[in-house]
C-alpha cells in the first residue's frame, strides 16, 4: 500500500508545485520587474507623454497634442539632423562593419605577433569617447598634428580648420568615432570566426572552393548570428552617438554636424524646450526599434 501510494503522492505534489510558483521565485521575478518598471518603463512612458506637451522644465507641462510632431515637418534643422543621422548610420555603420570584418579575417589566423595587433586595434574601445574626442580636437586644431603632417608632405593647400568648416565637420567627427568602433566590431567578428567549425573549410577546400567561395558559402552564412548582434550594436551606437559630436563640435558650425541626438540635447538643455526634445527622443526610439525589430523578425523567419 505504502509503496504504491508513494509515487501517486509525489506526482500530486509535483503537480501542485508546478501550479503554485514558490514565493521566493515570485519575489525574484517581481522585484526586478518593479525596479525595471520604475526606472525604465515609467520614464519611457513619461517621455512619450512629454512629447505631447510644451514644457520648460520648471513650470507644469501643458498638453499640446501632436503639435511637436507637426513642427518637425517644417523644421529645417530637424531635416538637417535627420539627414546627417542617415549619413552617420551609413558611414559609421557600414565602414565599421566592413572594416571590422576585414580586420577580423586578417587577424583571425594565428601568426607571430597577431595578438599585439588585435590588442592595439581594441585599445581605443577602452578609452572614454570624451577623452578620445579631446585628443582628436587637438589633432584637428588649425596648427595641430593633422595640418602639420599635411604641411610636411607638401599638401599645404589641403590645410584646413577641419572642425570649423561646415563641409568637413561631420566627417572630421566621424573619424574618431570610427577609430573606436572598428576595434569593437572586430572583436565581435573574431569571436564569430573562432566559432566556425574548421571541418567546413576543409570540406570546401576538398571540393575546390576558391577563397571567395569559401567566404561566400561558409564564413558569411556561419556568421549570421554575429551579424544580427553587430547590426543591433551599430544601429544603437549610431543613434546614440552623442558624446563624441557634442564634445568636438556641439553639432556646429551652424548645425552642419547636427545629429538627432545632439539636436535633442540642445533643444532640451539649451533651448529648454523639453516637450519638443521629448518628441525628438521618441523619433530616435522609433527609428532604432523599427530597424532592429525588422531585422530580427527577418532573421528569425529565415531560421524557421
Amino acid at each position: 500500500m505504502a509503496v504504491l501510494a508513494a509515487p501517486a503522492a509525489s506526482v500530486k505534489r509535483r503537480r501542485r508545485a508546478v501550479r503554485r510558483v514558490p514565493p521566493t521565485l515570485l519575489l525574484f521575478v517581481l522585484v526586478p520587474l518593479a525596479v525595471e518598471g520604475f526606472w525604465v518603463f515609467w520614464p519611457a512612458l513619461q517621455g512619450f507623454y512629454l512629447s505631447l506637451t510644451k514644457w520648460d522644465g520648471v513650470s507644469a507641462p501643458t498638453f499640446v497634442g501632436l503639435d511637436n510632431y507637426a513642427e518637425m515637418l517644417s523644421d529645417d534643422i530637424f531635416g538637417t539632423a535627420a539627414l546627417d543621422t542617415v549619413i552617420w548610420i551609413v558611414l559609421f555603420g557600414g565602414l565599421s562593419a566592413a572594416g571590422g570584418l576585414g580586420l577580423a579575417m586578417l587577424l583571425n589566423r594565428e601568426r607571430k605577433g597577431v595578438g599585439f595587433y588585435r590588442a592595439a586595434l581594441f585599445t581605443p574601445v577602452v578609452f572614454s569617447l570624451v577623452a578620445t574626442a579631446l585628443i582628436w580636437q587637438a589633432i584637428y586644431q588649425p596648427d595641430g598634428v593633422f595640418n602639420n603632417v599635411l604641411g610636411a608632405i607638401g599638401l599645404d593647400s589641403w590645410k584646413h580648420s577641419w572642425l570649423a568648416d561646415p563641409d568637413t565637420a561631420l566627417y572630421a567627427v566621424l573619424v574618431p568615432a570610427l577609430w573606436r568602433q572598428l576595434g569593437y566590431v572586430m572583436v565581435l567578428y573574431l569571436a564569430g570566426l573562432k566559432g566556425i567549425d574548421p571541418v567546413l573549410y576543409e570540406a570546401a577546400k576538398l571540393d575546390g572552393a576558391t577563397a571567395w567561395q569559401q567566404f561566400r558559402h561558409v564564413t558569411w552564412p556561419q556568421l549570421r548570428s554575429v551579424n544580427s548582434v553587430v547590426l543591433s550594436v551599430i544601429i544603437i551606437d549610431s543613434l546614440r552617438s552623442f558624446d563624441v559630436v557634442w564634445s568636438m563640435t556641439k553639432g556646429g558650425p551652424y548645425h552642419s554636424s547636427e545629429l538627432l541626438s545632439t539636436y535633442m540635447y540642445s533643444t532640451a538643455f539649451q533651448s529648454l524646450r523639453l516637450g519638443y526634445a521629448s518628441a525628438l527622443a521618441v523619433v530616435i526610439f522609433v527609428l532604432a526599434f523599427g530597424v532592429i525589430v525588422t531585422y530580427l523578425v527577418r532573421a528569425f523567419r529565415e531560421d524557421q
Binding site: 510644451k54 520648460d56 522644465g57 520648471v58 513650470s59 529645417d76 534643422i77 580636437q137 586644431q141 588649425p142 580648420s161 572642425l163 570649423a164 568648416d165 561646415p166 556641439k250 556646429g252 558650425p253 551652424y254 548645425h255 540642445s266 538643455f269 539649451q270 533651448s271 529648454l272 524646450r273 519638443y276
Partner: protein
Amino acid sequence: MTTAAGLSRRHFLRNAGLVGLGALGSSSFLAACATSASNGPVKQAAGAVTVQSNLSSPQAKVAIEALAKAFGDKGGATATVNTVASETFRTQLPSYLTSANPPDTFTWYPGSLLSGYAKKGLLLDVGDVWQTMGNYSQAMRSLSGDGAGHQVFVPMTYYWCGFFYRKSNFAKWGVTPPSTWSEFLTLCETLKGKGISPIGLGAGGGTQWTASAWFDYLNIRINGAQFHRDLLAGRGRFDDPKVKKIFDPWRQVLPYTDPNGTALAFQDATTVLLQGKTGMVLTGTYFADAAPKDAIDDLDFFQFPILDPSVPVAEEGPTDGFFASARTPHQAEVKEWFKYVATPEAQELYIKNSSGTVLPANPSAKNSGTPLVLKGKKMLDEAKELTQFFNRDSSDALQPTADVALIRFIQKPNELDSILSDWQTAAAKVFQGQS
C-alpha cells in the same frame, strides 16, 4: 572588556539614533542616512551654507574657496564651496532649483533667466540683505531685482569689455590704439601689412558665444542700448533692417579677422594673442584668467570705437554674484553669507586671490588698483548706459541661436539675409517655448 565593548556599542547606537532623529527633523531623510554614523557632519549641516559654484577656472576657484574659508573663520555660519563645470551647472540649474533639497546658494548673474525663476517663486527674497547695502549704486540695485519689487540677487563683482592687446607688441609694431572707427580700420590695415592677423577671435571649440561680443557692441554703438535690450528680450526682430545695418561695419573688418577665429576656443585665442600672432581681441576681462600672471601686466585695452556720435555711449559691464534657492533650509545662514560677500573686505579678498581684473560691486571696496583696472573702471563710470552680455540680457536659451547666426555670418557674410531670417525663426521658438 566585553562590558566596555557592549557599553560603547549601546552608547554609539543611542547617539546614532539621536543624531538620525535630529537630522530627520532639520533636513531630509537622505541627510539622515548619510550622517547617522557620527554626529560631526550633522552639526556642520545645520550651519554650513552650500555654495554651488560654476567658477571652475583655476584662479577664480581658488578665490571663491578663500572667500568661503574667511567667512567660516570669522565665526558664526560656515560655507562650503561645490565647484561644478559651468556647462553642467547651466544645464542642471533648473533641476537644482526644483529639487526638494537644493543647494543653498548659487553663483550666477542677473538677467532674464533669473527674473524668470523669480516669477516662479524659486528664488529667495533677499531684500533684508540689501538693507545693509545702502551704498550700492542704483544701477546695481535695479539689476538685482526681479522686476516685481523684490531683490533676489547679491552682486559681488563686475568687469568690462574692450579690445585687449599687448603693450609690448603694439610698441614693437609701432602702432597706437585708435579712437575712431576709421583709425581702427587703418590700424587693421597696418597690422595686416606686417603679416599679423589684426583681429583675433576665439569663437570655436565650444566658445562660439564670444562672437556675440561683436554683435552686442555693434548694436549698442549703432542702435543704442535700449534697442539692444528690447531686441534681446523678444520685443524686436532679428530680421529688422536696423539689425541688418550693424553687419555693414562688421563686414568691413572680416578681412582683418583671424581666419582660424571660428576654429579656436577663446583660451587658445588668448595664447595666440599673447604670442603676437594676432593683434587684438574683443573680449571681457575673464580671458585674463587663462593668461599667465606676468603677461597680465603687459595687457592694455581700448574702448570699442564710436560709430555714431549721436548714440549715447553704452558699454558692457557684466555683473557676477549670488542668488539663493527659496527652499533653502538655512535662510539665516544664507543671508549671513550674502551680507558678508557684499562687504568691501570680502570683495577685496576675492579680487586679491583671482586674476585681479574684476571690479568690486561695493563702491567702498578697493579694486586691485592696477592702471588697467583703473582705466576699465573709468570707462564704465563714464558710460551713459550699461548692458550685460548677450546671454545675460536675453537668456542662455537664446545664446545658441546667436552662435549659429554669427558664426555663419563670419564664414559666409553673403548669406546675411537668410541668416537673419533663420535667426528670427529660431529666436521666436525660444521666446514662445519660454512663455
